[in-house]
């Protein structure tokens, strides 16, 4: 008997070989087709780290230019491109992807899942990011890099002030990399909630799981706002729809609202996973369970919420009424409370086990993080106070503040993570000696570089200046900052040397720190030999024989009962086993889909519209090829998963993991739409005089939207009918596919009815911001309906090929889910566009 009550009858020989065969990583030139989370996760992390190095080199060049006044090392234009590239790369190509990469690499291991629920989706996200990011970064080499700062404020970024393609690279490049962040979020939400090991209830989940869940939730609600913003700005740049042009009823401040509604949560999106990692490491350092687990969960959720009530603190100087500012100032101070809770929890845990604390390299990096992040938090409270911010806004004080928070709150925990988790992925641990050197150089260098910036800022030095007069007393402090930056870089270099000398991926060095969580179980390409039954928060500490039993195959899923890749799906709260998830293995379709998606966006940037369109079609095509192989159906029936348990190997309806992914996707779509509704109403408060019927073409008669609404409902009705008439298992049918496609076409007709109605009334999107908003509602409806149409054609084809039927029906169900959403959103849009102007007339 093992300690978890699971009996260890010897497993038949050959099971392990079978697992190894099924989970084998493709070798040689086939490697890019791999989807194993440890393989692509490592690649993801490596790419993110490479972008950190690149953006760091750019920073060093900037610091070199700033070392003394009146320098001419860099031109003004290049400097502008550099700070934009540095900030953008650090935020979008390093910080968020690095955290997603850690989610991909570590989460399944911590949850003892064999892989994330949608392995090819993570691979898609990674390839899209790597290709898109590399091309985006390369623009700095030929003077095509954007130069509007990482937040790209209009009107500076409108064509009038920034002609050329530079800004478009940002808008299309970054806009599309955010899509890959969202794909990662889908993966993480479903992974954390559905692929935990049996017994790992929510209250036993590792804190990193909680923090990644909140991280993903925040991405779902924050990223769509900036995606909408980039859409608006790109549409204005390309077609002249005046969303941000005040003379035609637009407002540049709309960009700031949308950008910062994303941008502030973004910094917590970066920080929360890092905090989660710290909460995993600290207990190991002192061999003591985390003190205040529950409070930390509260803090993570609280931070997630509060961070959405802060965005206007970036706009304190824009002329918003003081009472509004007070709301945001208050929330900005309130958000310090949950961060404080976490800091105190870590300190309490460290204090509780202080006699066992060894100052290893990861521990040093964590202590460094605590110090630097706390300083950044204190200056954060300062700039959250409106009067102080009015004084230091856009000065080096702010540059100092946010580097303290970002480098302290994210880079130091990341380096701690590298040193702490390397032995889980490398046959050799990293060097403690080099690690110490790296830490002290980075810690000292960072403070020498950034502390003086508080003072240069208070002395009045604005941010984003390529040089300054040499005789006004700023030289000394700036020189110090530059020296510090080089010391910091030396620390990073030492780490890189350590990596090259000691990091040997494949296998692991074992549980070198005597940690308590599942990623330290013995594992191989298939993850753990069997999926453990968990009884506490620190299974390796609570269940002393766990490693042995898991390795002996005594727990769940010791073999591959469906003959392919699979993992266990459990219930969300209590983690009760529910079914076996069959998942796809290595393949090329997701790689090609990602490549062509990247090509589509990048070619669009340089206005090669036709080639771009071809690439877009190819991208969709490869997505369909990929999806064709999914939804395996119930053919394999129920399978034994060990420990005397038998589970279904296929699931439909709200219990299935893909249903959840669709729900997440619809939340993303809804967030985007809410951002749109906000924009519509916002522009109305700014310029009511151009809203119909005051300044614009009148609205079409009410019969028009009513016809459109009827068409939407009829289309949805037909799709529902299609669902009722799906053929019996294994057979083909004609009714369902026809109803499905005709239904989707009706939806498209409805969208066309709505848009044509406005065109007939003489409304022109270029004329006013109002008109642009009206057409955008139609375009957003069209976008979702287009997706429904593609899915409908796809599912119709599946039905005709006997791949979708009454029982094997996930593909159909998801189409219906999306159709329902599309109709809901479109009806709301009709109400807004046709109702609101009449309401306020």
């Amino acid at each position: 008997m093992s300690d978890s009550g699971i009996s260890a009858t010897p497993r038949p020989a050959g099971e392990r070989a079978e697992l190894l065969r099924i989970w084998a990583t493709p070798q040689g030139w086939r490697l890019p087709s791999a989807v194993n989370n440890t393989v692509i996760g490592l690649f993801y992390l490596g790419a993110a780290f490479a972008f950190f190095l690149l953006a760091g080199i750019v920073a060093l060049l900037m610091r070199t230019q700033l070392a003394q006044g009146d320098a001419t090392f860099l031109s003004q234009d290049l400097y502008n491109q550099m700070f934009t590239m540095h900030g953008t790369t650090m935020m979008f190509l390093f910080a968020v992807p690095a955290m997603e990469a850690l989610g991909v690499m570590l989460l399944p291991q911590m949850l003892a899942a064999r892989d994330l629920p949608f392995p090819r989706l993570s691979a898609f996200a990674i390839w899209a990011y790597v290709i898109g990011g590399a091309v985006f970064f390369s623009t700095i080499f030929y003077g095509l890099a954007p130069k509007g700062g990482w937040f790209m404020y209009p009107p500076l970024t409108l064509t009038a002030y920034q002609p050329g393609d530079n800004a478009d690279f940002w808008l299309l490049g970054i806009g599309f990399i955010e899509i890959s962040a969202i794909a990662g979020a889908v993966e993480i939400v479903v992974g954390v909630l559905r692929t935990r090991p049996p017994g790992m209830t929510l209250s036993r989940m590792p804190i990193f799981g909680w923090s990644m869940l909140i991280f993903a939730g925040m991405i779902i609600f924050a990223f769509p706002a900036v995606i909408l913003a980039t859409m608006l700005l790109e549409i204005e740049r390309a077609f002249g729809w005046p969303f941000f042009t005040a003379a035609r009823g637009g407002d540049p401040l709309l960009w700031q609202h949308l950008f910062w509604f994303f941008g502030h949560p973004e910094v917590y999106i970066i920080f929360l996973p890092a905090a989660g990692l710290v909460s995993m490491m600290v207990p190991t350092f002192v061999q003591t369970p985390l003190i205040g687990y529950r409070l930390i969960v509260v803090a993570l959720i609280g931070t997630g919420f509060f961070s959405f009530g802060l965005w206007v603190h970036h706009m304190f100087t824009t002329g918003i009424p003081s009472l509004s500012l007070a709301f945001f100032s208050a929330a900005s101070i309130a958000v310090a409370v949950p961060s404080g809770i976490q800091v105190f929890s870590w300190i309490a845990t460290l204090a509780a086990g202080r006699e066992r604390l060894r100052l290893t390299t990861p521990a040093l990096f964590v202590l460094g993080f605590l110090f630097i992040f706390t300083v950044g938090g204190l200056t954060g409270i300062m700039v959250a106070l409106v009067p102080i911010d009015l004084q230091v806004h856009d000065t080096y004080f702010v540059v100092a503040h946010f580097h303290y928070v970002l480098v302290g709150g994210m880079v130091f925990p990341l380096f701690a993570t590298f040193y702490y988790w390397a032995p889980a992925f490398s046959r050799r641990a990293l060097s403690e000696r080099l690690g110490r050197w790296s830490f002290w150089l980075m810690f000292v260098g960072f403070n020498v570089a950034f502390f003086p910036m508080h003072l240069t800022g208070l002395a009045g030095m604005p941010r984003r200046v390529w040089t300054y007069p040499g005789d006004i007393g700023w030289d000394g402090l700036n020189l110090l900052s530059t020296i510090g930056a080089y010391i910091l870089a030396a620390g990073v270099l030492v780490f890189v040397v350590d990596l090259v000398r000691n990091f040997r991926p494949g296998g692991g060095a074992g549980n070198v720190w005597n940690a308590g969580t599942l990623e330290w179980l013995p594992n191989d390409v298939y993850s753990t030999r069997s999926i453990p039954l968990v009884t506490g928060r620190y299974p390796l500490w609570d269940q002393p024989n766990l490693a042995r039993d898991v390795e002996a195959g005594a727990h769940y899923l010791p073999d591959a009962p469906t003959g392919g890749r699979e993992t266990l799906v459990t219930s969300t709260v209590e983690a009760e086993p529910q079914y076996v998830l069959q998942m796809p293995g290595a393949g090329w379709s997701q790689v090609l889909a990602a490549t062509f998606t990247a090509a589509f966006f990048l070619l669009l940037t340089i206005k090669l519209v036709w080639i771009a369109a071809v690439c877009g079609v190819l991208a969709v095509l490869f997505c369909l090829v990929w999806a064709w192989g999914l939804d395996p159906g119930p053919a394999r029936g129920k399978v034994a998963v060990g420990a005397g348990l038998t589970l279904p190997s296929y699931m439909t309806g709200p219990q299935s993991h893909s249903w959840w992914a669709m729900v997440v996707l619809m939340l993303v779509a809804a967030s985007l739409y809410i951002a749109y509704v906000f924009s519509y109403l916002y522009l109305w408060t700014v310029s009511p005089e151009v809203w119909a019927p005051a300044g614009a073409a009148p609205l079409p008669p009410l019969s028009r939207p009513l016809v459109a609404a009827a068409a939407f409902l009829a289309g949805l009705g037909l799709i529902v009918v299609a669902g009722r008439s799906l053929p019996p298992p294994g057979q083909r049918g004609w009714v369902a596919p026809i109803a499905l496609v005709v239904g989707a076409c009706l939806l498209a007709t409805a969208v066309a009815t709505e848009i044509l109605g406005h065109i007939e009334m003489g409304l022109e999107p270029q004329a006013t911001a109002y008109a642009a908003m009206v057409f955008l509602a139609g375009a957003l409806a069209g976008q979702v309906v287009a997706a429904v149409l593609v899915m409908a054609l796809f599912v119709a084809a599946r039905i005709l090929c006997a791949r979708t039927d009454r029982e094997r029906r996930n593909s159909f169900d998801h189409t219906l889910q999306l159709a329902r959403y599309a109709v809901g959103q479109s009806l709301f849009g009709l109400l807004l566009v046709h109702g609101f102007p009449r309401l306020v007339a």
Partner: protein, 123 residues
């Protein structure tokens, strides 16, 4: 088979407090901005209604959050029950603490209304 807590219900119960904070925040910020920007063109309300609108919003949020933070029974009922009592207990405690934290957030933004006039720039 364990009879467990439904996820959607657990989620809504867990996030009741922060959701009230979010609703309150959206209402006072959005309401204030809308009334200042377009108070004379809105149906049903006018700029003069601002103080009591803010007051009612804040008052009701405070009452709701107090109830959620103090009453384990109320929060427990929202979240539902599980065959694993520890699990429900954990969620209820987290939910109550979240309500308390949200209460602090609401009071913090509410405080501004006492000292600052609406719709003015003050600089």
């Amino acid at each position: 088979m364990v009879r467990g807590i439904g996820f959607v219900r657990a989620l809504l119960g867990l996030l009741a407090g922060p959701s009230i904070w979010a609703g309150h925040f959206g209402l006072v910020y959005g309401g204030h901005a809308a009334l200042c920007g377009a108070g004379d063109r809105l149906p049903l309300v006018a700029r003069a209604d601002l103080p009591w609108l803010l007051l009612v919003a804040t008052g009701s949020a405070v009452i709701a959050l107090l109830a959620l933070a103090v009453s384990g029974r109320l929060t427990g009922w929202l979240i539902g029950t599980s065959d694993l009592p520890d699990e429900a207990d954990f969620l209820v405690r987290v939910a109550r603490l979240l309500s308390a934290l949200s209460l602090f957030g609401v009071l913090a933004s509410g405080a501004g209304m006492i000292v600052l006039p609406g719709c003015q720039l003050l600089r």
